[in-house]
């Protein structure tokens, strides 16, 4: 009986220790991913607005936005989201330049 108490209590201490160490880290990683995806989606929408406003066509911008859309469709982690953000921003820049803003 006594050893059971020791084992359960020891397990509780282990859980507490690992929890204190691991939970904030996991949470930070999840937040980081969400932030990255949020940024990526915003950048793509922003680029879409710029494309719709642009009278001229831009092959490079189209390609960049298409790649960003493909990455978003494929899903993934924070790195994928950051890559999609980069492509979408580039497309946005190109269209704005083409629109002459």
């Amino acid at each position: 009986m006594s050893w059971l108490i020791w084992a359960v209590a020891g397990g509780a201490i282990l859980v507490a220790g690992f929890g204190v160490a691991a939970v904030p880290k996991l949470r930070a990683r999840a937040t980081d991913r969400e932030v990255a995806w949020s940024t990526a989606r915003t950048a793509i929408e922003s680029a879409t607005v710029s494309r719709d406003a642009c009278a001229h066509r831009s092959e490079a911008a189209e390609a960049a936005l298409a790649r960003a859309g493909a990455i978003v469709a494929g899903g993934g982690g924070a790195r994928a989201a950051r890559s999609a953000t980069k492509h979408a921003r580039r497309a946005d820049r190109l269209w704005r330049a083409a629109a002459g803003e």
């Binding site: 108490i5 020791w6 509780a12 204190v20 904030p24 969400e34 932030v35 940024t39 922003s46 607005v49």
Partner: protein, 464 residues
């Protein structure tokens, strides 16, 4: 306003450290206690038992040679050598002997080893002198130790031991041995007569006065000089002890019995009374151990004590050790007074629960901040979102087609910021999105024909 959460979190941190230390201490105590095994349970006496003392090396008493003693026995049937102490009821012994030929020789106590063997040869010498007498029986009494033929007699009751050592009265052993030797068999021998009486108040007062003064009384003729304090403390625990020593009492007359009277006079006191080599205990818990201790003591050392006059100091020291070992043996239901208090044995059953309590509290304290998912968000973020949204609504009526893309991008960022706040994303991210939105709105505000619709102007207007 800000100091309260900080103080609380630091207190929680300290409590967590304390709990962790307590848990570790529990484990350390538990592990350390595992190695102690069973040998902690029993106390044991301080020193190994030792017998009163060895026979003297140099002769202290004169003993005639064996042939001389045989010649004495030839002349008369009962010989008391000079210094002999044994006493017996001659009438009862004569009745036991009847018309048989029984010779009795009593030697003084304290014979050396050589004297003892010479004394043992008397039987043989007498038989050689009277070669035709096959029915001859010789009893040799060395001190108060009675032997004859191949037998040696030892008392079997406390009354007999008291008679032997307190009064040098060996009547009962002699009669038992005579019955055995001359063939009348194992019939029970009547015990020694109880020759005790109540002490008179005067006699008692003499003893009590000394005891009140020093805790020790030595009557004229008694040999007690000192009581070993540590042996006394070990034997009787915290109970104060008094010692009264008397010489061997004369046989055949009524002698005062001081023990019960002193016990009435000094309640709650351990009272040890010595008559010669006979030791009595009176006082607290006497019924529990006094008889056991005395029976063990005289059964073990009786034959040694009978042969020699040992000083009462030695006799008492060994007796006290016997009492201590009897009480250490834990034969009785009351707590041993000298078992040291062992806190570990008390805490050991509770230790797992203490440990479990520490673990549960640690778990709770650790889980509490983790379960609180969203930290308190400064209201400024939401305020800024609302402010920019209001500005966007105001400026929306003024925009022309040229500003539509910028305005749309601002709306996209504002919506993303709203979603981020709803999703509990960090403030930094929300502000970055709002920065983008403000940038686009600034572009719109500069382009519209009316002044005062840039985010900075809007802020100024609100402050005014």
């Amino acid at each position: 306003m800000n100091s309260l959460p900080i103080r609380r979190s630091s207190i929680v941190g300290i409590v967590r450290v304390v709990l962790a230390v307590a848990a570790v201490a529990c484990v350390v105590f538990f592990v350390a206690a595992q190695g102690r095994g069973a040998q902690v349970t029993y106390g044991s006496g301080a020193a190994p038992e030792e017998s009163p003392s060895a026979p003297p090396e140099q002769p202290t008493v004169d003993l005639p040679s064996a042939p001389e003693m045989a010649a004495m026995l030839d002349e008369e049937p009962v010989v008391r050598l000079p210094g002999a102490v044994a006493a017996w009821d001659e009438e009862r012994v004569r009745q036991a002997i009847g018309d048989r030929d029984v010779r009795i020789i009593a030697a003084p106590p304290g014979l050396t080893k050589e004297q003892r063997s010479a004394f043992a040869e008397v039987d043989f010498e007498v038989r050689r002198d009277l070669e035709d007498d096959a029915d001859l029986t010789v009893l040799t009494i060395s001190g108060t130790r009675v032997s004859g033929g191949i037998y040696e007699v030892a008392p079997s009751t406390l009354d007999e031991w008291r008679a032997q050592f307190g009064r040098n009265d060996v009547t009962a052993p002699m009669i038992a041995l005579i019955n055995q030797l001359i063939g009348s068999g194992d019939e029970p021998v009547e015990g020694p007569a109880d020759e005790r009486r109540e002490p008179t108040p005067d006699e008692l007062e003499v003893v009590a006065e000394q005891l009140r003064e020093s805790g020790r009384f030595t009557a004229p003729g008694a040999s007690l000089t000192d009581v070993p304090a540590d042996a006394s403390a070990e034997a009787f625990g915290g109970v104060p002890a008094m010692y009264a020593a008397f010489p061997v009492q004369p046989a055949g007359e009524r002698v005062p019995d001081y023990g019960p009277a002193l016990a009435r006079l000094f309640p709650e006191t351990a009272i040890v009374v010595l008559y010669g080599s006979w030791i009595e205990y009176h006082g607290p818990h006497a019924a529990d151990f006094a008889e056991v201790a005395a029976a063990g003591y005289y059964a073990q050392y009786g034959s040694v004590l009978a042969r020699g006059p040992y000083p009462q100091d030695d006799v008492l020291r060994v007796y006290l050790r016997q009492v201590a070992s009897v009480r250490y043996a834990g034969l009785f239901d009351r707590p041993l007074p000298y078992t040291p208090f062992d806190p570990l044995s008390v805490t050991l059953p509770a230790l797992p629960w203490i440990f479990a309590g520490c673990a549960a509290l640690l778990l709770a304290l650790s889980a509490r901040p983790l379960l609180r998912r969203t930290a308190a968000r400064p209201l400024g973020t939401a305020g800024r979102l609302g402010e920019l949204s209001a500005l966007a609504v105001e400026v929306s009526g003024l925009t022309e087609k040229a500003q539509d893309p910028a305005f749309a991008r601002a709306i996209v960022h504002l919506r993303a910021a709203r979603d981020a706040i709803a999703g509990g994303l960090p403030d930094r991210h929300v502000h970055r999105l709002l920065d983008h939105a403000a940038e686009e709105l600034d572009r719109v505000g500069r382009a519209v024909p009316v002044d005062g619709y840039r985010p900075a102007d809007n802020l100024r207007r609100q402050r005014a």
